[in-house]
């Protein structure tokens, strides 16, 4: 029995964590009435979209043994790009394409610097964190970029409490999560990402073009970050160069809570998505409890530490 229990724990660690936080917030009197309702979960899902899409790209990067600290800035920059293009009268499909491409460009530059200059991803992306943020402010002339209206604005709305459908952003995130999971598990590209993160020397020895692979990973993840920027734009209905400060930490935390290892070679899309949900549930629940934001920050910080510690415990006996 102990073995089966352990197996359940090992397979579904993050999932158990998610159930646990949901149950915790469902019990108190303050939240009982509203917390476990469909409408509340609609809000939670919608609040998860941006972090979740970012976490998809980040999962690929962290599994490959890298890290990207510039996500928050990339989201701000791409949302500013999107807002400016709407101002210039571009059509919606063109705006979507351009925003994703601008994210890919930032990722490509990160990848080129990391693989080409053989520098650690931490340093390079710490640099681009500042560069992208500054560029966003420069382009936006240090203020928000406003536009009249755009169909994009409707993709993240939960304003209509009588509508039962989830906003399209949630569906996009879900579809992308399935695609990314398939990519990581079932394609040559995905298996090579695991190989690179697990042991770069082995990957090189086995003839995997590690330089090209790294560039491709950061560029593809950049597409995801651009898309996250698009949904950021949709949520705010304006381009804000100061948005998403520190969001990279939420995104990285989601991936880590989901069971990925910062050493590379370990991580799943499902885990990262549950990690993103845990963060959103914690935020949502804390707000309903009426806890101040600093208290939320403390709790989320502690959850990250506990999650990784538990994760290490359940992995310990196997290696």
């Amino acid at each position: 029995m102990n073995a089966t229990l352990k197996k359940i724990f090992a397979k579904g660690g993050p999932f158990i964590g998610l159930i646990l936080v949901i149950v915790l917030f469902a019990i108190p009197d303050e939240t009982r009435e509203f917390f476990l309702t469909y409408n509340n979960f609609k809000i939670i899902f919608t609040q998860t979209v941006i972090v979740a899409i970012g976490a998809l790209g980040m999962t690929m990067i962290i599994v490959s043994g890298g890290i990207d600290l510039s996500v928050g800035s990339a989201i701000a920059l791409t949302s500013v790009v999107g807002a400016m293009l709407i101002q210039h009268g571009w059509g919606t499909p063109a705006v979507v394409g351009a925003v994703i491409l601008s994210g890919a460009l930032i990722g490509l530059l990160n990848g080129l610097a990391i693989a080409g200059l053989r520098m650690t991803p931490f340093i390079i992306t710490l640099g681009t964190l500042g560069v992208a943020r500054g560029t966003a402010k420069w382009m936006a002339d240090n203020q928000t970029v406003n536009y009249d209206t755009s169909p994009i604005n409707g993709w993240m709305t939960t304003a209509d409490p009588f509508s039962h459908s989830l906003p399209s952003g949630v569906w996009v995130a879900l579809a992308l999560a399935i695609l990314t999971a398939l990519l990581l598990r079932n394609t040559v590209f995905g298996r090579h990402i695991f190989a690179l993160g697990s042991n770069e020397a082995t990957a090189r020895l086995c003839g995997i073009p590690t330089t090209r692979l790294k560039i491709a990973i950061y560029a593809l993840a950049g597409c995801f970050f651009g898309l996250a920027g698009l949904f950021q734009l949709s949520r705010l209905r304006q381009g804000d160069p100061t948005v998403a400060v520190g969001l990279e930490l939420d995104i990285i935390a989601s991936v880590i809570i989901g069971g990925a290892s910062l050493n590379g070679g370990v991580g799943t899309v499902l885990g990262s998505m549950i990690g993103a949900l845990i963060m959103a549930v914690l935020r949502n629940g804390s707000q309903q409890m009426g806890w101040p934001t600093y208290f939320q920050e403390i709790i989320i910080g502690l959850v990250i530490i506990v999650a990784v510690f538990v994760d290490r415990l359940r992995r310990a006996p196997t290696t």
């Binding site: 394609t187 040559v188 697990s198 042991n199 990957a203 090189r204 086995c206 003839g207 995997i208 290696t319």
Partner: protein, 518 residues
């Protein structure tokens, strides 16, 4: 010599089932340079670790200047008067020479470093070595390897050691620097410091040592005065062991040349002098300063080519250069039937060449991934269409190798890090078999694995050659090379000095060439 500085008697040390030291006894007088000689794996390093306090002996006694000597750890050993200079230098390269010399023994006043007193002590230690002029304020990383070694020795002298242990001190020195080091050692000897000098290079030992002890398989097999010693006798002592009947001899007839290395100079050895005994060195020592020692070889289909040599002689460097993992300084690697300009590990696999790393854990395998992924990493694309992998087929093929090589595991989806070393090695080798390779570069294929797996790997290699594959085997275990290979080449300090058919080699002959004692 009546007085004894250090006496070791009946030292034993086991690691699990492996008896690293069975019965070692050594006696060293004050002011004596004592050479400790033995093959790779004879127990020299273990003995030094016992002496320097890194390991505790299981049995036996050690006395230092008449007192029982039982070091608790390397620091304690140092305080008791036994200091060690490791082969790999231990300097903090970003600190100055002075800070390095005084590391862990700084002069302080009320917790503040006393710079003046520190400087005087560092100066004194350097003066003892005859190197007063060394710039104490320069960063350690800016000094040459030879000067860094001086800094390391000065650090050891700071606490007035009675015994100084030097492990392969000349392995990364040029000939000229070696002479300077010998002058330093002679100085220390006159000051009464006893020195244990570990080296594979017998000529060096004869030049510098007063007495010697030979270790073989964890036992003292001989000792005596260096001036009476016959080097051939020492080599026989080092290697004299029986070859067990582990090695299958399937008939293979070498065919056409499939791979050729033409006067290749390995990057790590550029500018290093040729071995002093080489005839070429005498002829063109000045011209070789910029090029360094060279390697040339021809590999034929159906041939097992053994590469012998001491650790650090450049055998792994040569294999890595052939596999295009490292660049060559000069010369070239020609693969028959392959364009010469295609040289990367990726191209090598496509050309049908496989490489088995000596470093299973750090380079050979992805320890936290599955057996199937590890086995098929070089040809993931072959398992499906449009970049999509058919995981079932991948695991099925892996499973076939698992049963064929009798790998002990749950199934091919198991994480490879959970297997034993021997089973891991079989999977690492199966990667080359499955690819499939026609030229096998095997670096220490039997290192750290059990005897059963060893015999299986010998059998496999022999069958490969019989099937017309070409195999290069690097090994530090001579009976293995002599038992398995058709041709053996011996490397010494980056140079492939001699290539002969197996029948022309004996263990002592290989050791003689490998140690540069012509």
């Amino acid at each position: 010599m009546s007085a004894v500085r250090l006496r070791l008697a009946g030292i034993q040390k086991s690691f699990g089932a492996t008896r690293a030291l069975k019965n070692v006894s050594v006696e060293i007088a004050p002011g004596e340079v004592h050479a400790l000689i033995g093959e790779n794996g004879a127990g020299k390093s273990t003995l030094m670790k016992v002496l320097s306090g890194a390991h505790a002996a299981d049995a036996g006694t050690m006395t230092l200047s008449g007192q029982p000597y039982l070091p608790e750890n390397p620091h304690d050993a140092r305080l008791k008067g036994v200091a060690m200079i490791y082969q790999e230098l231990n300097l903090a390269l970003h600190l100055s020479a002075q800070e390095n010399i005084l590391l862990g023994a700084e002069s302080t006043q009320l917790g503040w470093v006393d710079r003046r007193a520190s400087r005087e002590r560092a100066r004194a230690a350097l003066a003892q070595l005859g190197h007063e002029s060394l710039d104490l304020d320069r960063l350690a990383g800016e000094f040459s390897i030879a000067e860094q070694q001086i800094i390391e020795i000065a650090r050891a002298l700071l606490i007035q050691p009675q015994v100084l242990i030097m492990d392969e001190p000349t392995s990364s020195l040029t000939q000229a620097d070696t002479e300077k080091l010998f002058a330093t050692i002679s100085r220390l000897r006159q000051q009464g410091v006893s020195i244990i000098y570990i080296s594979h290079f017998l000529e060096e030992c004869r030049q510098i040592a007063d007495r010697y002890t030979v270790l073989k398989d964890g036992e003292t097999v001989g000792s005596g005065e260096m001036k009476d010693a016959n080097l051939d006798h020492i080599v026989t002592l080092m290697t004299g062991r029986e070859v067990k009947d582990l090695y299958p001899r399937a008939a293979h007839t070498p065919g056409a040349v499939v791979l050729e290395v033409k006067t290749a100079t390995l990057t790590r050895f550029v500018g290093r002098g040729l071995s002093p005994t080489s005839a070429a060195a005498a002829a063109s020592s000045s011209a070789d300063r910029n090029t360094g020692p060279a390697c040339s070889l021809q590999l034929r289909a159906g041939e097992i080519f053994g590469l012998a040599g001491l650790i650090g002689a450049g055998r792994t460097d040569l294999l890595r250069a052939i596999f295009a993992l490292d660049d060559l300084k000069t010369g070239e690697v020609c693969i028959v039937d392959a364009p010469a300009n295609r040289a990367s590990p990726r191209d090598r696999w496509q050309q049908g060449i496989g490489f088995l790393s000596e470093n299973r854990k750090e380079e050979g395998l992805m320890l936290n991934q599955s057996i199937a992924d590890n086995l098929t990493l070089t040809k993931m694309g072959a398992f499906g269409r449009f970049g999509l992998i058919n995981g079932g087929r991948q695991r099925e093929i892996a499973q076939r190798w698992v049963s064929e090589l009798r790998v002990k595991c749950r199934d091919s989806a198991q994480t490879i890090g959970e297997l034993s070393g021997g089973n891991q090695q079989k999977i690492a080798l199966a990667r080359l078999l499955e690819h499939p390779a026609r030229i096998f570069l095997l670096d220490e294929p039997t290192r750290g694995i059990d005897v059963g797996s060893k015999a299986q790997i010998y059998q496999l290699v022999s069958e490969l050659a019989a099937a017309g594959k070409a195999v290069v085997v690097v090994s530090s275990y001579l009976p293995e090379l002599l038992g398995l290979c058709d041709t053996i080449g011996v490397m010494c300090r980056g140079e492939l000095t001699a290539i002969r058919p197996r029948s022309a080699w004996s263990e002592s002959e290989i050791m003689r060439i490998a140690t540069g004692s012509a």
